[in-house]
């Protein structure tokens, strides 16, 4: 490849001045993106990947000290002033953000947001700009583009919104697009569509793409070249095949080992899941219905006639995309949302019919782990108090016994006992989630409801938390309803799987039945859309998915350049 690079980082070095001293975020980084090429910048949180990308737009806050150079096309970003920067942004380099709902202004129509960039850069004005905006929407595969352009962001679905954001990035025909975790906030089937769209973008428009992600599956699906970042430095750099299939650096190896692999089943992280030996039920859900009341409209049925059960010592995975009602079920089991009708039997007692003291007694038998460990721990309480709280609420034990139990649990979740006096903000994400798991286990529950317990964590942290989780399950023998959108995670630990869509159960059965030999169309779509961290295998899976979509009568999403040529 002899083409001139469209984006170059030369010895880039970024330091932040903060309240607690200097943070060296990027340490002498060299990287370039050529036209028509996708370079993936991979790393876990705190690796400096987003900071690196942000320098290309000159958008870092004032407390950052930037050394080295970032070059877009012919322009060195670090040497430009405000006005010159504005002509570069959008025109030469554009950004696709992670969360499309926050990247779009909720009070401005989609079409107007698209025309804004064009008018600022003098690409087109007035009616001409509007018709180009409509063309852009058509090009990124939005049906009824004329009507959609007049709508507000909240009227579009998540995938549509991300397409609008991509259309915005394309509006001034930039040479390079920076995609910062463009699919992290999206469901897996939508993610596959957006990736298809981005791929067609580099093929048809010859745009260079810097893809920032933590998802190895996305990397395998998209990237030509991969740079792995760790604590501000690139530790490994090469083509996707080289890095993903033959990693050299120990960090890359560790990272790839930590990625759960759909189809590999139990024991991926070195700990076996115990087989279920009993038929005794820990949780029995029958014809369960949950409705949300809406003013002036008929109630919304979030969960519709759902039945499933969990045996003692069994992990049941509840899978679905956003809006499928999986978390609603979890919350209803905890008594946070009232049930409309149906039965929920926990250890033989109907949860929906109990009141007062009896209900409180039954609650002791259920533990809970939430998704975001930062939000689910009270920031004002030290860890010891957080873990002991269930014992305080249910008036179990005296101070010394509680402390002993907390120490026991800290050992079980592999945190040092010195964490007892620390506060949640002093711990990292994975450590906080361990605290949350310890709290859930304080009262030795028979049933654990885990609502996306690892989806807010980094891959390597997720692996260690999952390993610890299966170990604890073997040790304590609790039954678990494991709610997740990630099929690979479910695959690594569940005995049985329940798949949900639009509040109804689509398919349920053993792990092997559902994940290896799915019967229902929706499950097959879901499985086909989940990317694996192996570029060759992923290319095959992509072909298979496209065949599946064709056989189901759907189109593959790609950029329609005919719309842009006019």
């Amino acid at each position: 490849m002899t083409q001139e690079a469209v984006l170059q980082f030369k010895d880039l070095d970024v330091k932040f001045k903060t309240e607690f001293g200097r943070v060296h975020a990027v340490k002498g980084l060299n990287l370039e993106v050529r036209p028509g090429e996708v370079v993936a910048l991979v790393g876990e949180s705190g690796s400096g990947k987003s900071v690196t990308a942000t320098t290309a737009l000159g958008l870092l806050p004032k407390n950052a000290a930037i050394g080295g150079e970032t070059v877009v096309g012919q322009h060195s970003i670090t040497k430009l002033n405000g006005k010159q920067l504005r002509t570069i942004r959008g025109n030469h380099v554009a950004m696709v953000f992670q969360e499309p709902m926050t990247a779009l202004n909720p009070v401005i129509r989609v079409g107007e947001q698209l025309t804004e960039a064009m008018e600022v850069h003098g690409v087109a004005f007035g009616r001409e700009a509007w018709s180009r905006a409509v063309d852009l929407l058509k090009a990124v595969g939005i049906p009824n583009a004329e009507r959609r352009a007049k709508q507000f962001p909240h009227e579009l679905s998540g995938g549509m919104r991300q397409r609008v954001v991509i259309a915005m990035a394309l509006s001034c025909d930039p040479e390079v697009i920076i995609a910062d975790e463009p699919t992290t906030a999206l469901d897996v089937t939508v993610q596959a569509d957006i990736l298809d769209l981005l791929r067609s973008l580099k093929d048809k428009l010859n745009t260079g793409i810097l893809l920032i992600t933590h998802n190895m599956g996305v990397v395998a699906d998209m990237a030509d070249r991969v740079a792995v970042m760790f604590k501000g430095e690139i530790v490994e750099h090469g083509t996707a095949e080289e890095v993903l299939l033959h990693p050299q650096h120990p960090y890359t190896k560790r990272l790839l080992d930590a990625v759960p692999h759909l189809g590999d089943g139990h024991g991926q992280f070195g700990s076996k899941v115990n087989p279920v030996t009993t038929d005794e039920l820990a949780l029995e859900v029958r014809n369960f219905v949950i409705e949300y009341k809406r003013q002036g409209k008929k109630p919304f049925r979030a969960v519709d006639d759902v039945s499933f059960d969990v045996r003692r010592g069994e992990i049941v995975g509840l899978v679905g995309e956003s809006g499928s009602g999986k978390s609603t079920i979890g919350r209803a089991l905890l008594g946070l949302i009232p049930a409309h009708s149906g039965e929920v039997r926990v250890l033989g007692q109907d949860l929906t019919k109990l009141r007062g003291q009896e209900l409180k007694k039954l609650r002791r038998r259920i533990g809970v782990i939430f998704q975001d460990p930062a939000a689910s721990l009270n920031p004002r309480l030290p860890i010891g108090d957080v873990i002991a709280e269930p014992m305080v609420v249910h008036k179990i034990g005296n101070a010394a016994e509680r402390k002993a139990r907390v120490h026991e649990l800290l050992d079980a979740v592999r945190l040092p006992r010195s964490a007892y006096n620390r506060y949640p903000h002093e711990l990292s994400g994975g450590q906080r989630q361990r605290v949350s798991i310890a709290r859930a286990l304080t009262l030795n529950p028979d049933l654990l409801v885990a609502d996306e317990p690892t989806s807010a964590l980094d891959v390597s942290v997720q692996a260690s938390v999952l390993e610890m989780f299966t170990d604890l399950q073997t040790e304590f023998g609790f039954a678990c309803l494991f709610i997740s959108h990630d099929l690979a995670v479910i695959d690594s630990l569940a005995h049985r799987v329940v798949v949900m869509q639009y509040g109804k159960i689509v398919e349920k059965g053993t792990r092997e039945e559902v994940l290896l030999d799915a019967k229902e169309e929706y499950t097959r779509r879901l499985l086909a859309a989940a990317p694996v961290p192996d570029p060759i295998e992923q290319a095959q899976r992509r072909e298979e998915r496209h065949r599946l979509l064709e056989s189901l009568g759907d189109e593959v999403v790609e950029l329609d350049t005919r719309e842009l040529d006019q």
């Binding site: 607690f20 560790r254 010195s418």
Partner: protein, 326 residues
């Protein structure tokens, strides 16, 4: 996460932790900073707030020790009730260079009372009213706001409509009515002001609680089976502390001004007792002939109100560090 802190302080031997994104918890020490301690640290580094705090403490100490309070005598030999002969037209004897305090540092009023003693008494009354109002209004406002925000539904409607009712009654009219009924009883005046000035805080606390009750740690507490009262006390209110403390200080400074206004209109504190507002009202026409009679109470009102506001400012920055990053 500071730069290079782990590799140097403890040699890492195994690959496992060398390439971990998680920071290792330092096991050698139990030292930890709670959020409260972090807030204190930021507060003590806030120069304006610390200045305000020192000056306010100085005003409080000097006003209460100089002429004494209740039966306790002070170190100043004159009191604020006894007239004496007017010397030198009652002009202040305080001089900065060469420094001298003299017989009447702040001067004398028209009938020869020592003006320093009068201003000190006025400050005492104003501070007493301000802090009483702050405490009462904070307690009422926090309770009503927290209950309304946490329970929602009918409770919320009733409490918030009551709040609206209190808002539409003009404070001055109420003060006038109570002032006529109870005369110059300072404690009753303070309590009355407190009972009508909690409304803003109640609305703010309700808003804060509305967002806190949806947080996952509250859901986690409910799922454990924690009673509502405990959730409010242990999980919700400590996290709303920033809003509450900051607004309490602002309430205090506005209470000083409200008392001043009411006394100025003649409905508040009455002679022979005095307050800063009353002193200003009495000598508002003296500005041209005996300006010190106007300036001294004016400066004290300004100093107290400004100091409390600076402290509130510092507290707000300390509780919400995102605002101060620049």
């Amino acid at each position: 996460m500071t730069d290079n802190n782990t590799p140097q302080s403890q040699p890492v031997t195994d690959e496992e932790s060398q390439y971990s994104v998680e920071d290792v918890i330092d096991q050698t020490t139990d030292k930890s900073y709670s959020q409260g301690q972090l807030v204190m640290r930021r507060f003590f580094r806030h120069k304006a707030a610390m200045g305000g705090l020192v000056i306010l403490l100085f005003v409080i100490v000097i006003s209460f020790t100089s002429i004494g309070f209740g039966p306790i005598p002070g170190w100043w030999d004159k009191d604020f009730m006894t007239p004496s002969t007017v010397q030198n037209g009652g002009a202040p004897t305080l001089k900065l260079w060469p420094f001298q305090i003299g017989e009447h540092p702040f001067g004398q009023d028209t009938i020869g009372k020592d003006y320093f003693a009068l201003v000190m008494r006025g400050s005492q009354v104003s501070l007493f009213i301000a802090f009483t109002v702050g405490i009462i209004a904070t307690i009422i406002g926090t309770t009503i706001g927290a209950v309304a925000g946490y329970y929602r539904g009918l409770t919320e409607s009733l409490l918030m409509r009551t709040t609206d009712l209190f808002i539409i009654i003009p404070a001055l009219v109420l003060a006038a009515v109570f002032g006529r009924t109870f005369g110059s009883n300072v404690p009753i005046l303070a309590v009355m002001l407190g009972v009508i000035s909690w409304t803003g805080l109640a609305r703010l606390v309700r808003g804060e609680v509305l967002s806190l009750r949806e947080r996952e740690f509250v859901a986690a507490a409910r799922a454990i089976g924690t009673p509502s009262g405990t959730i409010i006390r242990r999980h919700v209110l400590p996290n709303a502390l920033g809003t509450i403390v900051v607004n309490a200080t602002l309430l205090i400074s506005s209470a000083i001004l409200t008392e001043t206004a009411i006394s100025f209109l003649g409905f508040g504190v009455r002679p022979p007792d005095t307050s800063l507002g009353l002193l200003i009202q009495t000598y508002q026409n003296a500005l041209t002939t005996r300006p010190w009679l106007f300036w001294w109470p004016g400066i004290f009102i300004l100093t107290i109100a400004l100091c409390v506001n600076f402290i509130g400012d510092g507290l707000r920055d300390a509780f919400d560090p995102r605002q101060t990053l620049d």
